[in-house]
Amino acid sequence: MAETNSRMETILKAEKLTKDYPVLKGLIIPKEIGRVKAVNDISFEIQSGETLGVIGESGCGKTTLARIVMGLEDVSSGSVSFMGKTIKKGMSKDLRRHIQMIFQDPYSSLDPRMSVRRILEEPLRIHCKMTKDERLDRVLPLLEQVGLPAESLERYPHEFSGGQRQRIGIARALILEPELIVCDEPVSALDVSVQAQILNLLRSLQKEKHLSYLFVSHDMSVIRHISDRILVMYLGQMMELADKRTLFETPAHPYTKALMKAVPVPDPEIKDQCHVLKGEIPSPVDVPSGCPFCTRCPKSMGICSQSRPEVNEIEDGHFVACHLYNKEEAK
């Protein structure tokens, strides 16, 4: 999708993002005993109108990454910028309105004491000087676009089902007409049939409004459906980054391959499903030295536990961090 787009330009640029948190011990006088690198040296770009999918298992830092892009967390090192302006915690309102977020849980992300009208008008009150009627003129067509009846305006979140609430959440994110939307697991709390409705809605809105998404999920098939390019993360580090077709047809990193094999497919004819990867994800406090995946990797070599693999571009736009693809050793 991104290639066919003539208006392609980089709107978000992240360079060597690193975020670490202190690990504290002791109840009364907490002492720092170490640091967790939730996000470790990650670089990527998002073009206008494209979806970058971020996939990984729990503790891989995908939510932290989303929060950094939203300006809800400051980076420890590295930088992230939107159209050339740096994103940080205290960034200006003018910058913030261009990046909005859709959350995972449609139950806790809407204020139960606000009517839908207030929920949707609140961003306008904060960011725009508008009269009551002007605000309503913005809210009403948007409600229709996300598939909610106009009567919803005066109703409260508890009167809606999970799927409808997620539609309210989407409308709230869209009301300021942002360029980039950060979606943190927006469909994982929903049933399959509702999930399909929301995914279709997100895609049609993207086409209509030329939006860019940073789409975070743990579900491989959802990511495949929605993304143009995909970033695979493991324990805070980037394992692989490629466009969708390349990643699914010729995955390079052993972790990406394992992740794909582990997903059960709705087809009982496929034998040997749930290909089992040994061991569990190590604690992020105690990341293995060298490649973070070396303890579970079926192709682990001596070097893997000693040094961290560099990110290599093995073909155009296909980045892999694995010693198997190291340029010198490739021969």
Binding site: V222, L259, V263, P264, P266, C274, I281
Partner: protein, 344 residues
């Protein structure tokens, strides 16, 4: 059907109603039949609110009596109707002959007791066994569910283990008294995919080794396809389609099953747009006198509005639909989506 005598468990017309706030009754489960044979894994799939969890909760007699009741039906296990037993007798069966594992392993385990204590507890409750024997058996069980360094784990507390490890402990507890039936209610929903694969593998392995029957409840079609032999698709408190996994995934008959399969994004292939089932799950107030799915169904005709179809079919592949019965096998004409959408 001549196998009927060998069925380990047979649910006949199970009904379970919840009281709603306005005093009327809502059918969570409205007439479910299920037969379970040793050594098979039966999947119950459906979306939230379809009654899949209520079926097994009713069967285990774990429903909250203040809001829910068993409104009819029988659950015959080893010649006894479970609904006719006293609470005391039921306690002797629960955890011993029929045991259960839950979605969230951390809330299924008691945070203030060690893993060892919790496994020994169930052994001591159901079997006359000495302290040292119990300890030894607990160790053996931990080995059985492939927990690394089991000696160390015995003295650890639940929070010290990872999610996958906790679920293994829950499975060890469930298997402690060598049950004949294991009920797994969304056992992998809270876990990561790579860990999910390990747990599914473990359940399959234990089934092969111990020849237990497993009822697996899930909303994930992939999980069903990966490990179940037979499956039941539930909607609105009833089974709408039943059969072997092979048959159902190859040629789903009920419009709901077809829609559900078409709505899943695929990891194998590209789908331009996902099929969506319009509307949402309705609350089923009793009595129901129409097809429960007709409001959302693309095939709905007059008859669907007037009476409820029966669950019928040939060769064990049953379907509750007027319109699917005369439809040719595998064809999906008139459904609003083509066959390629179903399998793609």
């Amino acid at each position: 059907m001549n196998q009927k005598e060998n069925a380990l468990l047979s649910l006949q017309g199970l009904k379970s109603y919840y009281e709603s706030r306005d005093g009327s009754e809502v059918a969570a489960v409205d007439g479910v039949d299920l037969e379970l044979y040793p050594g098979e894994i039966v999947g119950i799939v459906g979306e939230s609110g379809c009654g899949k969890s209520t079926v097994v909760r009713a069967l285990m007699r774990l429903l909250d009596p203040s809001s829910a009741r068993i409104a009819g039906g029988k659950a015959v296990f080893c010649g006894k109707d479970l609904f006719g037993l006293s609470e005391r007798e039921m306690c002797g069966i629960r955890g011993k002959d029929i045991s259960m594992i839950f979605q969230d392993p951390l809330s299924a385990l008691d945070p203030v007791y060690t893993i060892g204590d919790q496994i020994e507890e169930i052994l001591k409750a159901h079997e006359h066994i000495s302290e040292s024997e119990a300890k030894e058996k607990a160790l053996e069980l931990l080995r059985e569910v492939n927990i690394p360094s089991p000696e160390l784990r015995l003295n650890q507390y639940p929070h010290e283990l990872s999610g996958g490890m906790q679920q293994r402990v829950v499975i060890a507890i469930a298997l402690a008294c060598r049950p004949q039936i294991l009920i797994a209610d969304e056992p992998t929903t809270a876990l990561d995919v790579t860990v999910q694969a390990q747990i599914l593998e473990l359940i399959r392995e234990l089934r092969d080794k111990l020849n237990i029957a497993v009822i697996l409840i899930t909303h994930n079609m992939g999980v069903v396809a990966a490990i179940c032999d037979r499956m039941l698709v539930m909607y609105g408190g009833v089974v709408v389609e039943e059969g072997t996994c092979k048959e159902i995934f190859k040629a789903p008959k009920h419009p709901y099953t077809r829609g559900l399969l078409a709505a899943i994004p695929s990891i194998k292939e590209e789908k331009e747009e996902l099929y969506t089932i319009p509307g949402q799950v309705d609350v089923m107030k009793v009595p129901v006198a129409c097809c429960r799915f007709y409001k959302r169904c693309a095939l709905a005709a007059d008859i669907c509005r007037r009476s409820e179809p029966e669950l019928k079919g040939e060769g064990g592949h049953l379907c509750r639909c007027y319109m699917a019965a005369d439809g040719a096998e595998g064809s999906s004409g008139g459904l609003g989506f083509g066959k390629e959408a179903l399998h793609g």
